[in-house]
């Protein structure tokens, strides 16, 4: 039996992740139960004021709007990413199409958001065109509402969904689809019943890669949102940088953590049951 080197190999990882991840998270957990210091920061006194403050109607409203924005953006992303990735996986020019997706993926997301501001802004390209064509006589405000936030979010995180979906669909055995059709299934039915359950792991990754950055977003609502599209990330930042209410920032952060974890687990649970069904059908067949 050889010596166990596991602890030696993982020692740097253990130390790093403990000091710079676990301890800081433990600290915000602790801070959320402390009293706010008048100078910003905390006093070492137990208090649940930061949790009572969560029941502020404004925070509740923002929480719901955050959930709404995240779900809508994720739905749009999956709706666009699935057929796009399917097309790529079936194409003869896979490598080239892959490159076409990787370029926006690696292009800084702030630059890509900025491009939409140039297009949709009050003095942007779209308004210029509409004015020149005489379709409108005043500049229309396209930006700064909830839907621009949803659309720009979808645009920003779309490549993060296409790439994992592509690598899963690529591994799928497409002759199964033809077999289903030979057995009398319609094309739609074959895709829904055969392809979709088989690429569920890819869909899960795609949803995780998009839902999590959207729900904790700060920059998009800040840049293209209005008063109806403030998200939890904006409130946390405001509490930490401006009002310096650290206990409240900590308690809201924990709410955000819980919300995103529930979202993730709910989704994993839903997709797992689908894949389980598929496995059962297969086992029955054998």
């Amino acid at each position: 039996m050889k010596k166990n080197y596991g602890q030696i190999y993982t020692a740097p990882l253990l130390i790093w992740i403990t000091v710079f991840f676990v301890v800081p998270i433990a600290i915000i957990l602790m801070f959320s139960f402390l009293k706010k210091d008048v100078h910003g920061g905390v006093e070492l006194k137990f208090s649940i004021a930061a949790y009572k403050a969560l029941f502020n109607p404004y925070i509740i409203k923002v929480a719901f709007s955050t959930i709404f924005i995240s779900i809508m953006a994720t739905l749009i992303i999956v709706f666009l990413a699935l057929p796009t990735a399917y097309y790529m996986a079936r194409s003869k020019f896979k490598d080239f199409l892959m490159l076409l997706i990787i370029i926006p993926f690696w292009t800084n997301f702030l630059i890509r958001i900025y491009a939409w501001i140039a297009i949709l802004g009050n003095n942007g390209i779209l308004n210029n065109i509409l004015l020149k064509l005489g379709l409108t006589d005043h500049n229309i405000q396209f930006l700064y509402n909830q839907w621009t936030v949803i659309i720009v979010m979808a645009y920003t995180y779309l490549p993060f969904a296409i790439l994992p979906l592509f690598s899963t669909i690529e591994k799928f055995d497409f002759s199964l689809l033809e077999a289903a059709r030979d057995l009398g299934a319609t094309k739609t039915k074959a895709i829904l019943k055969i392809l979709l359950p088989n690429v569920m792991p890819g869909i899960t990754t795609a949803v995780l890669f998009t839902f999590i950055p959207v729900i904790g977003n700060y920059a998009v609502p800040q840049l293209v949102g209005g008063s109806d599209s403030i998200m939890i990330g904006n409130i946390i930042t405001h509490e930490i940088m401006k009002t310096r209410n650290w206990p409240l920032a900590s308690s809201i952060s924990l709410v955000l953590t819980v919300l995103s974890t529930i979202g993730v687990m709910l989704f994993m649970y839903m997709t797992r049951s689908k894949t389980d069904n598929l496995r059962k059908v297969r086992e029955d067949a054998v």
Binding site: T10, P12, T18, F20, W106, L163, S167
Partner: protein
């Protein structure tokens, strides 16, 4: 019996439309930025070709270039350190059983499913608590922290393809652990390690949110500078900068194509 075209699945008309829509959504804004970067005036309407904004970007934007230098330095260091720690950790977690293993796995998996802002805020509060001055060092520490899980999982995906009996054979033939690590494991895991490095490098280059919290006065990175410039509307220098960054992404894209297999599986 119903008739159907056996090539029906080969034509993919519907998915082609979706693909085209996606491409237009992706590239139309980028093309507009490229065109605008050569515009002679500040506005949106075309007033003739000019390299004015590039001139301003290259010769009159020293703040941007300092930030660019910081970004590259941090990305290189963060990618290197997280690749070393993550690769060693991946090897340890993949092949050994030991105390605390479950804890390490959960603690390294968690940052992947937590919104970035939580990591940013917890580190900001942590650094303030221990009175550590915010600056390039804190940015570097934060970047290593959020890159580590990605490197770890990319390396482990590569190790999953690895035939463990090779290592046993090496041990049976009398190889020491250090020799197996340097002469067998690292060479075999190299594509995974390189993918991990590249992923960490690009994540660090691009990061805005975590950096936003842990940066201090005078320690700006390129994404922070871009954010400050676009907050106040359209700036032609940003157009020129965008073109440079898009070209950079193209180069990175070509480079990373080989490695994507381990990045997204």
């Amino acid at each position: 019996m119903r008739k159907h075209n056996p090539k029906a699945f080969k034509r993919n008309t519907v998915s082609l439309y979706f693909f085209i829509v996606t491409m237009v959504i992706f590239y139309l804004p980028l093309i507009i930025l490229i065109v605008l970067s050569f515009n002679a005036t500040k506005g949106i309407s075309w007033d003739g070709f000019s390299l004015r904004w590039y001139n301003e970007l290259f010769f009159k934007s020293s703040k941007l270039w300092t930030a660019f230098g910081n970004t590259m330095l941090i990305a290189l260091l963060a990618a290197t350190i997280s690749t070393v720690i993550g690769t060693l950790g991946g090897i340890g977690l993949y092949w050994f059983k030991f105390r605390m293993k479950k804890y390490i796995e959960i603690a390294s998996y968690l940052p992947l499913i937590l919104p970035e802002i939580i990591i940013g805020i917890s580190l900001l509060i942590f650094f303030s608590g221990i009175k550590f001055k915010l600056g390039l060092i804190t940015i570097l520490i934060a970047h290593i922290t959020f890159c580590l899980p990605y490197v770890l999982f990319i390396v482990m995906a590569r190790l999953a393809e690895f035939d463990y009996s090779i290592i046993e054979a090496a041990h049976d033939l009398g190889a020491r652990e250090r020799d197996t690590l340097l002469k067998i494991i690292i060479p075999v895991a190299l594509p995974g390690v390189a993918s991990g490095f590249l992923m960490a490098f690009t994540l660090s280059l691009d990061d805005f949110l975590i950096t936003f919290f842990v940066s201090g006065k005078g320690s700006s990175t390129l994404p922070l500078e871009i954010y400050n410039m676009i907050r106040f509307g359209v700036s032609p220098v940003v157009n020129a900068l965008s073109v440079i960054l898009i070209v950079g992404s193209l180069a990175l894209g070509l480079l990373s194509k080989k490695f994507y297999k381990y990045m997204f599986s």
